[in-house]
Amino acid sequence: MSHRKTWLAISLLVVAALTLAACAPAAAPAGDASAEIAGLQNQLATAQAAAAAGGEAVDTTELENQLATAQAEAAAAAEQAQAAQSQACGYNTYRLGWVMDYPDPVNIVNDVFAPTSDFQYTFWGKTYPDQAATFEELVNAAKSDPNVDTRLANYQAAEDILIDELSVVIPIFNRDRTGLRQTYVEGYYPAFGAARFANWDLTNGSDTLRYPVGAVVSTFDPNACTDTTCSAVLYQVLDAPFQYTEDGGLAPLAAESFEVSDDGLVYTIKLREGALWSDGEPVVAQHFVDGIKRLLSPDLANDYAFVMFPIDGAQAYNAGEQADLPSVVAVDDLTLQITLSAPASFFESLLAFSTFHPIRLDVIEANPDSWTAAENFVGNGAYTFVEADPNAGIKLAKSETYWDAANVSIANVEMDVLLEPATTLAAFDAGEIDATTGGSIPSADTVARYTANDPNFIRVAQPGIEYIGLNTSAEHTNDVNFRKALASATDRRTILDGPAGTPWRVETTSLIPLGIAGYREPAEAPGYPYDPEAAVAFLNEYMASAGITDASEIVVEVWFNSNGTNPQVYAAVTDMWETTLGIDARTVGVEFATYLDVLEQCNVLGGGGF
């Protein structure tokens, strides 16, 4: 190596080291500043107290000056952060969707849109503190209300605040899933959880169901799984106490029955006698206790922990503030008892949800790093793993120890990972797969099969909505009339039929989705359906109050993550708003991870809460 090259290499190394060092985040200024101010204030107070007590003149001027400087610096920093926030968070509207975790309005009205929720970026609680207080009263009353009617009425009243009174969110459509299924496949998909193949039949004489999944399997750990892909697998190998029936009710599974105490607080679940794990061990109540405790474990950061927060002390246990969870106990081998902090009628529906899957702690301890591998995994479900490769595919076989094995007609299940929708469609048409869901076929073909009434085309309920959120702290969208104008100028039907390519979907103006108690038919639903005249009237009202004479001066930024058909959909939305209202609407498409990051940053900076 010549000297020149040596120098070149050394200088490159130096540059590299510098780059690395430059990535180090600046020390958090806000925290330090407030600590400094508090320290100075303490010193000053001590000095003043000493002066008062001793009568001795102490010069506190220097301390006072220091304090003033520190306070001024902190104020400037806060102002800077505020300016950065309003610049970075310049969105007027953002899109997001929500798929319900369990069938109760609280899961969307409160979990997503509560003023303090981490899942919404409208800042409405801060902009409208009075309405936010009323909203919280209504939701809190509903949460602990054992009477279904008054409960739903309260949720609907809370929904009305968001949709009717303030119009901070524009619901677009009710979500669902589509898929293909060969006509010889018989069985149902429940609205929550996942289909259980133990309930399915193949009438073509085959004993193997080929059911690919459309994404890699994120995890085989039931406490960590939240998505449809891992659920589709785990519901075959693990049984919750109950299962969802086709019409949304509950049917016994690992349990035979349950009772709720008169005050609605204590759930007593009687487990099935003689049920065995795939390794032959009996299934006992403690395994369900272990499952719930592991889900809520403060060390694991499981996403679904919040689902079990109605359990007394669950939130504190999850936060590490409480060492044990005495509200979940195994009374005996076959009796599981759970105590809630307040009556919650929706808790019943969770008895069939994955947050109730039992866990074998001894199996986890035996192989802490590989207990989810096919050869180590132990389940209490109808199937057991033969192969469990999250990237290539899963093979299941009927569990010989399953209590109801005699009634399981499909002996094997093959769940290949098929990421490319066009491949899935070709494989279906070539007869290489029996059924698939998750929208994993190309949208044009989905539309064609839907319009042709293809007997293989299926729609599966998946309660949830897609919506546009409105930033109440941004210019223009901070006005309620302007927000109502945008909502009234949104032609949801045209979006679904056209750019979204989902003509079978049901448009909506309300938050509580189709299929959930409390859902209101379009005629009674709150909100603002497409009505160009009303939209213009709302706009005129806004322009008069804001002193704007030319609508084209109104510029709104419409943000979305640029996945799937979103770019076309939001081009159409802005087009509608521009044509109907004459405003200037601009689309801002952002890559998904960046999109969420920006929204979250805004929430932290702008303060979603009070």
Partner: protein, 320 residues
């Protein structure tokens, strides 16, 4: 020769170090993080996100994170835990839990097998196609060969893959639509789809280079010595015209051995090609580092092999 290789390897270490630093820096600079959404693409509450970041040590200063990562990699050969597929370490995702149980069915080897067969196919058909073109310049065989290679270059392999599925799987029913490892039939379409583009590239390069060499003095000299056309072509013309071809083969081999995203996607081949894309969109930091370092190592080694080949093809090239 040994000194040359040793020297190159030492310099490669510096290159790999720089690659790791640059990659790590870009990962740090990219907005978003591995835990900003849960697996259903829902935003995650900041408390849970912070807890997860702390669990994986991602709240530590970047320099510390980098040093720890490199320490684990160099001392223990560990590529770290996958941040998105939490049951697995990155080593397990790429090499499977037990590599030696079934080496040919591990993601790394599946990609390498697909890449290598496609490479052999591309070289094996591309070079003869180029030679024929050059020998019959502006005659029918040239036109046919160049038509094929133009098609090969201009049809994206995604489209070619779907077209092949349409014809050979759906219409003719000869081959299965997707899969890998159950039967040789599953390999046919992915290999051809991947190999076609490279074949076309190699054919065009061979043709151009061959035409240039055929006009050189030493070819005329060889002919005038009375050597047979076959010997002139194979020993004098072809061997010398391969130098530019071999130059592109190094990077091509490296790219194919380490998996190809689109071909693996279309035919659901469970290799490592998809990781190059999914790791980035998922912000699976450890997997991003692993894929890029793995690719860099393969590229450095392929280029080294190319340099060694130069000396064989053209003895004038010396290694010191």
């Amino acid at each position: 020769m040994a000194t040359f290789i040793a020297n190159r390897l030492i310099r490669s270490v510096v290159v790999l170090f720089l690659v790791s630093v640059v990659t790590f820096t870009f990962i740090q600079l990219a907005p978003g993080g591995p835990f900003s959404a849960d697996n259903s693409m829902r935003p995650r509450p900041p408390e849970i996100e912070a807890k997860l970041m702390a669990q994986y040590g991602l709240d530590r200063p970047p320099v510390e994170q980098y040093l720890r990562y490199m320490g684990n990699l160099l001392l223990k050969g560990e590529l770290g835990p996958s941040l998105r597929q939490k049951d697995y370490t990155v080593n397990q995702l790429m090499f499977s839990r037990d590599f030696w149980a079934n080496p040919m069915q591990t993601p790394v080897m599946i990609s390498a097998t697909l890449g290598l067969i496609a490479f052999v196919l591309a070289v094996g058909t591309g070079i003869p196609l180029g030679v024929v073109s050059a020998l019959y310049r502006n005659k029918l065989p040239d036109h046919i060969a160049m038509f094929i290679s133009t098609l090969g270059i201009s049809i994206p392999n995604f489209v070619l893959g779907l077209l092949m599925i349409l014809v050979f799987a759906l219409t003719l029913g000869w081959l299965p639509v997707y899969g890998w490892g159950d039967s040789w039939k599953q390999m046919v379409m992915p290999v051809i789809t991947l190999g076609t583009g490279g074949m076309a590239l190699i054919a065009r390069l061979t043709r151009a280079s061959m035409l240039e060499v055929l006009g050189q003095d030493y070819v005329r000299t060889a002919r005038s010595k009375g050597l047979s056309e076959r010997v002139v072509m194979s020993r004098h013309a072809l061997k010398n015209s391969l130098i530019p071809v071999v130059t592109v083969l190094g990077p091509l081999l490296a790219a194919w051995l380490t998996g190809t995203f689109l071909v693996e996607l279309v035919f659901a081949v469970p290799g490592i090609g998809r990781f190059f894309v999914s790791a980035v969109t998922d912000r699976d930091y450890t997997l991003i580092m692993a894929t890029i370092l793995f690719y860099s190592v393969t590229l450095v080694l392929s280029n080294l092999a190319v340099d060694v080949l130069y000396g064989y093809l053209d003895p004038r090239i010396r290694f010191d």
